[in-house]
Amino acid sequence: MKKTRTPGCLTRKKKKGVYRKLHGCQKLGGDVIGTRWVIMSRWRQSVDELAARHRQQVECQRAQEALSRVTSCFQQLVASLGSSADCSFLRDEMDETRMLAHRICNGLSKRLVRLLSGSDSIPSGAEDRQVSERLWVLLLSVLENFLSDLRKARDLIGQFPLTQRYDRRSLVNTGCMDGVVGVAARVALVQVPWLSLEEEPCPDLTNHIVGLEAMLSDMQLRVPVAFWSVEATQPPWAEARGELDEPDDTLEDMMVVEAVSYNKMVACCQPPCCGLGCVG
């Protein structure tokens, strides 16, 4: 029997071997076959459960990535609130993104709570538990990040309501024109397995925030996970080594405006203190 990569495969191959043995034993007495059948079925059940758990973890991981994508697009949209790029189209897109995030969050939290609440008949191995805990910590972090963006969105919408036409006068001229179509398209491409299954009505912004806060505290109460025991899988500075499809130095060059000679700057703003640079 060849040793394969994952434990799941190994048990599957073992199962086949046992089948062969069982066929060989059919020539023996009936009661022996009966007990062996019971043991086999329980074993097969555990193997199935392990495989199911593994599948769920992979599903949660993919959902996590999707949620990350949706929340980062949400951040791009919220950053334009109150600026000259703010308009009703932007706010509608923001609501849609929020709804999508809400549905992904709900499904993901339910599945992770089920994975980690330890109500399974088979105790999970240490590695399994570690993977689930990692996913748990990632989910909590994403939720907190999303919650802070939601709060900012609520405050900004409160400060810059676009209900009347003269409200547009108070929008801040930041130099942004509306270019959020690409972002909206990116959000639309996000797919999660349970999106089509569960259709719940989406709450408005304030209720969403309240609901998310309740979910966070509820989750932390129900599942005791020591999140400081989770370790990063990547070494520091690793993300810089990934390939980019286009070299992005042009962005930095673009940001540098026509050079004003440094001497002029120094003469104009002379910091009154001793040699330290002043930020403010």
Partner: protein
């Protein structure tokens, strides 16, 4: 403990002293009005043009016009707007000041405004650094690299989330049009320069520790608080007052004497350790140093109090007094200090020794105080408490101040030490050397070693100040004969 940062959540979330932010926001919104606001122009870059760029002098002129203030005040107000992050400079983005010329500025997006409620979090900063790392492929500034390593260690449990979110945000940013991307990146960079300023710069967002109470809320003062306030003010009116000319004169005299010694008003010699990370100043001014600095010696001449509180000065004074054979006043003063600051259990023993050494008639080191004070003190010593020697100590202090102190200042001991005193040269560090200093900070002397040194000093002074046995002296002189 929340998952957002490693620091415990004590329920304190309000930053103090930031009430000006609400008022600044109103002004910034007024600046946006297309008719009565500031007029902007377009910024031409290599590939594209970006609207809404403003010249510094236009902004300052608008502020001077709107608030009816002279242009210097408007200039300062403009700098405040930049320092708090409502406007960011496009050229020289690290200097957050507003220049009264054609240098270009742009308004910050409300998402990045420094409102009191939204604190710039460590997790967000980590995501920003990871994003910048991806974009610049590891070429971060040294202070950013230091922050990155620190955050990787302390936010290790959510580092996967940080990298994932950074990659997703980077990709989401790429979906926008080029000019918008440039603007967003500029905005984010300005936001983080403000909230995580580079080394050895100070930022306007520096405020005290976070508070439990929201400073923006109006305070409700209760009836009982008003009643107490009234009582306090009524009593204050009834107190005896000093003429302001007298008290101001004393203040002016104090300032003229001490202004060269204040580290905020005059530069520290050789250099202020808090600014340059070089602790020569502290080593030169330690307690047990042989040759003190000139500034220190000058300070001793200001008053007897200064001389006695500086322990090195006290040692010098003791040397002088030993020559004059009048050390008992200072010894009594020191013994009284020990009684005041010592433990409660040792008080009666100390009081006994003090009485035997200084106050009893015919004592070896009898101090010369007037009869009334002596009577009071001796009576008080029956039931000794901490301040039983207060009257005698004050009398002795005044004696020393009026007589011995001036003789000391004219004595050869003092003149000698004035001549010998060091005058260190001012340090002149380049920025690279300052970085070096910051990285090579020494941990200083271990407190146990300091304590051992102090014990040795005490033993030495105890041996040296043992009462001079007149008979032994006389016998020594006899033997010489």
């Amino acid at each position: 403990m929340t998952i957002r940062s490693a620091r415990p959540d004590r329920g304190q979330h309000f930053r103090p002293r930031m009430l000006c932010l609400n008022k600044l926001e109103v002004i910034v919104v007024e600046m946006q009005d297309p008719k009565s606001g500031v007029t902007g122009s377009e910024q031409k870059l290599n590939v594209t043009t970006i609207p809404h760029v403003f010249a510094g002098k236009d902004i300052i002129a608008w502020i001077a016009n709107k608030m009816k203030t002279p242009p210097e005040e408007a200039h300062v107000f403009g700098t405040m707007l930049v320092a708090f992050g409502y406007i960011y400079p496009l050229q020289n983005h690290k200097m957050l000041v507003m220049c009264n010329d054609t240098s270009l500025y742009r308004f910050q997006a409300p998402y990045f405004w420094p409102t009191q409620k939204w604190v710039a979090d460590d997790s967000d900063y980590a995501i920003y650094l990871a994003k910048r790392n991806i974009r610049k492929k590891g070429m971060l500034e040294p202070y950013e690299q230091a922050h990155y390593n620190h955050l990787h260690k302390w936010l290790n449990h959510k580092w996967d989330f940080i990298v994932m979110q950074a990659t997703e945000q980077y990709k989401a940013g790429k979906e926008r049009k080029k000019p918008d991307r440039v603007v967003f990146d500029c905005q984010e960079r300005a936001y983080w320069i403000l909230n995580r300023p580079p080394r050895r710069t100070h930022s306007a967002m520096d405020c005290g520790p976070e508070r439990l109470i929201d400073p923006n809320e109006d305070e409700k003062i209760s009836f009982d608080q008003y009643r107490r306030k009234n009582m306090f003010y009524q009593q204050a009116i009834m107190r005896s007052k000093v003429k302001s000319s007298v008290s101001l004169g004393a203040l002016v005299k104090y300032i003229t004497t001490y202004k060269t010694h204040d580290p905020f008003l005059a530069p520290c010699q050789p250099s202020n350790p808090w600014q340059t990370d070089n602790d020569t100043y502290w080593t030169l001014n330690m307690r047990g140093v042989d040759v003190p600095t000139k500034m220190r010696v000058e300070r001793w001449s200001f008053s007897l109090f200064e001389l006695l509180t500086d322990l090195r000065g006290r040692d010098d004074f003791k040397v002088f007094l030993k020559k004059e054979f009048s050390g008992e006043n200072l010894a009594f003063w020191e013994a009284a200090e020990e009684l005041k600051w010592g433990t409660g259990s040792s008080m009666s023993a100390k009081a006994e020794t003090i009485f035997k050494t200084f106050l009893a008639p015919g004592a070896p080191r009898w101090i010369n105080i007037d009869g009334r004070t002596m009577g009071l003190t001796v009576k008080g010593l029956d039931h000794p408490h901490r301040y039983v020697l207060e009257a005698a100590q004050t009398h002795v202090f005044l004696l020393m101040k009026k007589d011995t102190f001036f003789r000391y200042l004219k004595s050869p001991v003092y003149k000698d030490i004035q001549k010998k005193a060091l005058s260190p040269e001012t340090h002149n560090f380049s920025p690279a050397q300052l970085e070096q200093n910051a990285q090579n900070r020494s941990p200083g002397i271990h407190p146990i070693i300091l304590w051992q040194q102090e014990e040795e000093e005490k033993a030495k002074t105890a041996a040296a100040s043992a009462p001079v046995d007149v008979k032994a002296m006389m016998s020594k002189i006899d033997r010489k004969k």
